[in-house]
């Protein structure tokens, strides 16, 4: 397949390639028809070189220590799957050297300075050429972006699930978002709460009234929400159950047409209507599937939004944004 990959290739590097999202990035970029993956780096300069056995035969370049000089030499774009503190430090330095940056951390997601200082205190100045990388909402802004701040997994599901209704002015009640997440969303570092025997056969709520993704969701919706995430015993995927009310007289057709119009040109959003989507149908894909039920007597609306937290909620969405930013087909390397 060398013939395909020789043309129009962007030279790309990845920093933070050993975490779950980082490995997905390496996998996607190594197989991307318009990318030449040059380097996969760890999260720090002191990490020893290591291989990625799961990616053998796909990417045999290993993961080398973080090295900003190497990461900007004959590289056009860098994906950062780093802890937010590291991203806050590294991203501006890469931008200063003229490399386009796709940051998967939360460091640059919040536009409000006070909120950012609360949740991401290590983030300094935010570059002016930044775009919040939710392609379905910001497709036209991406080509000019130097820094693409990729959304969090929970905010992606919420913004795609509820955004069109909010923008259409249909929402007329409090918003409750009950999220169920696979454990890979908690990252790769072992801990008591992600220990197999603690998660298996269990469900746990966490971060009630204190999860920074709530601020990001509220930013994207422009509305206050009650957001409670839960760990459920699966690896990959998120299901959000969104509870609200629509205004009197809002019909099922209005809701359906609002979604249809919003996602007519969106290859990775699938609106399923009254057939509520499940995690299994989006796991290991870049799709976000959205269904809903409306009780027209009371105006109560329940929206179900599902995605794979490591793909549409992280690495896949970053590649989707990259595709648009560089003028490729939005689906390149993602229709697997």
């Amino acid at each position: 397949m060398a013939d395909v990959r020789d043309r129009n290739q962007v030279r790309v590097g990845v920093a933070g390639a050993t975490g779950y999202a980082g490995q997905e990035l390496v996998r996607l970029l190594a197989g991307h028809p318009h990318v030449r993956l040059e380097l996969a780096m760890a999260s720090s300069a002191s990490s020893p070189r290591r291989d990625l056995p799961a990616l053998a035969h796909l990417w045999d370049g290993g993961v080398v220590p973080l090295d900003l000089d190497a990461l900007t030499e004959e590289i056009d774009a860098v994906f950062l799957a780093l802890p937010e503190e590291a991203s806050a430090d590294v991203a501006p330095r890469l931008l200063a050297r003229g490399v386009r940056v796709f940051d998967l951390s939360g460091a640059f997601r919040l536009r409000d300075g006070a909120a950012r200082a609360q949740w991401y205190p290590k983030t300094g100045e935010v570059p002016s050429s930044i775009v919040y990388g939710l392609p379905e909402l910001r497709r036209s802004e991406l080509p000019a972006a130097q820094l693409v701040s990729c959304p969090g997994c929970y905010p992606t599901a919420a913004a795609l699930g509820l955004g069109p209704l909010v923008r259409a002015g249909l929402i007329a009640g409090d918003i409750v978002i009950d999220a169920k997440s696979g454990v890979s969303g908690a990252g790769k570092a072992p801990s008591e709460r992600t220990h197999f025997s603690e998660c298996h056969g269990s469900v746990s709520a966490y971060g009630v009234f204190a999860h920074r993704h709530a601020a990001e969701i509220e930013q994207e919706l422009g509305l206050s929400v009650t957001f409670v995430p839960h760990l459920v015993p699966l690896d990959r995927g998120i299901l959000e159950t969104i509870y609200t009310r629509v205004g009197a007289g809002t019909s099922e057709d209005t809701v359906a047409e609002t979604y249809r119009a919003a996602y007519a040109g969106a290859p990775f959003v699938r609106v399923t209507g009254g057939t509520l989507p499940v995690i299994k149908q989006v796991a290991y894909t870049n799709f976000c599937d959205i269904g809903w039920k409306l009780d027209t007597k009371t105006g109560r609306l329940v929206v179900i939004s599902v995605l794979d937290n490591l793909l549409k909620g992280a690495a896949g969405q970053a590649v989707q944004g990259f595709n648009i930013a560089f003028g490729f087909d939005e689906r390149a390397g993602l229709l697997t």
Copy 2:
């Protein structure tokens, strides 16, 4: 241990002993110090006799075809773990023969005739000596009951989690109940939605605006709720996340004291306060654990209520009600 079991023993039968709740009943009753389990029967007269391998050495009497005559001969109490249509038919006939009945089905749970006709159309007359068998709320009524209608798993978690606050007049907003249930709650009959490969790695919402447990929850709380149950990939256990608001000025202490007072004498309810409970800590037990978080600035309250759907949500609760009804220690046979 024969010395213990000779005294004060009630002669008991079980109908519907092959389902998940039925097997739990047999296990609990076979080991109960004040019970002599006489008979375990299937759900129909045409079911062939079979053994229960998982209960070998605990109950070697097997499961025999349903036979009402045998079930009332020298039997003091019968537990029904039957489909609701069967319970609707069998329970009155057992009562007519003077046997006390503990019914785990939904046939007799709804007091409102219209609601009952909608959700349980096969149920005819409801006997006057019926008690809704939620021991923490009806302890004093149970000794006189001839028919104990045991609550559903979802309503138990909801009524225990929210009931004290409702009765104390603290609730001041809409109520959303987002329930996550293990798959054993869907019963033992194979189906596409309970097929392993469909559930594993997935979460699915079901019964939105159309689950009969919503009617039962509303009956017990006396308030309207939005209730959405979900299947999560585990076997046993329910976690309900309950969203509402409390009135202005309601403090954490008020909430804590309300729960404390409500459950001071309840051996099977454990109030965990701000340490939110998880399913794992109640699976395979008869406990219902309740925790909560209050945002005093906004009055938003999130309550987490967890229990094992086959024990506190079914068989264990029925035995607990039986203990009270017959004057035994509420915990007999249940502290395992």
Copy 3:
């Protein structure tokens, strides 16, 4: 990506597109650069048309009733993911019309007539142009094959794991193959043994001394084996632990070199040496990973072979065989 797909495209149909392997076939073929997927059909002529929600935006052609006439009109190759009885009936009729057939069932896997009559009694004549479609062993035969009989999932893991050592004459003891399989290997039809609550938290052995894959394994190895498969509580993947002995004096280097030589040109076999592979690293890929431990004092050898039962064990392997049969890069459409 239209530019890629216009050239050198083979017109393909799938029969049996609603099962787990069938859906994987549709997904792979719909995204294959050298395939034009024309039709996806059900397993019988009486199945109603249905959609595949998980494949929306990838394959929106739905699944139509089985129709052999339509399946051979302007079609170059057909993949059969049918029950073996249906394949035994359909494959010869397709071949007679000049269509190349890739059969995923067991109908044509056994070459010995007596064994075939025992395990696949519905299979009649076996066409002469048949090739057993294990690409790593039959690469050179595939271009001429009209009927490719794709191996079973268990035999693939066993033949790849042990085959090179057998052919090198290194094996000097009994062979025990203990296989652990995800539940998707049992297919999509609900049953008691694949009911979620029966599989979750459990492991079960089945088919002891009576699994037809044992005959297929013995055919491919040319040796007698003891084979016991087990269901383990995961969806996709197989791990086989193979126990045997090597001859006196066989060193680790000899074993390593034997594998290296066998798989030097095999893109989908990864030999991991003493780092034993796990299912997770091959799930959702077409790789078979093989590791081993040798106790040189006693000659005891343990080989671990892992693969995804729906890809390298079914749909992926079929596409790999198709690629070779039609002269494409072996990896086309499979490096995802």
Copy 4:
């Protein structure tokens, strides 16, 4: 139930009460009719006092720092669920003070000095009054034991599954033991290999030719074995598939009768014959279930042995040994 517990009570302490086996011990002993649980201690003197939320209302005494003086004051028996190094140190000191000790660690399991020095180098002198606490094999020795060294989970399943056949002289071939274990067997300390996302959807072999339980199995069987344990994605339970051959002419009846005779008086061993047992039927119980298949033509025998690694493989077995040692019904506190 105080009336029951006042009579014949043994005063008991637990050291190592925070691990998975330790918590099971506390649960069992707190509800044991002949035990007064006096103290539950951590594994070290420096561990802060903590509560056990899952055991609230069953044992509200918390877990206090390890303190040997307190642990021997008015205490009759101590259960040690400590790391083996700690047990090697603590057990002799408790014995010297006249307390009977039930040790769940491996420190004292191996009788051969050389093997013990290899696998448990911290263990010093082994007291003369020691008994290997497998009740089904050593029932008569337990009443006189001062130190009961409780078997490991893997050796229990193997010794119960194969022991009767070995002692009857029926085994005539190599022995391969392929064990599948739930992850709780790996303990409570978080690690990469027990991280949820690494275990979920995966199976992994470990400790090939290098697991100390192999030495213990060989000690109990008196034969050499090939033993490979695997982690499977469940919490509690072990299934061992044991492969061997029986001598020519050994019939199914001979095997069945051998098991029957061996376990006629064993309340916790259930022989299931040709209906192979599964983990689910023993999880959360103290049973070991054993089934088998014999190929009389070839003499190949496959035995399946299942148990709950935290109960029959650890805490339950220790309590069973305690019951026998103190003259109680073997089942006391265990028939749950």
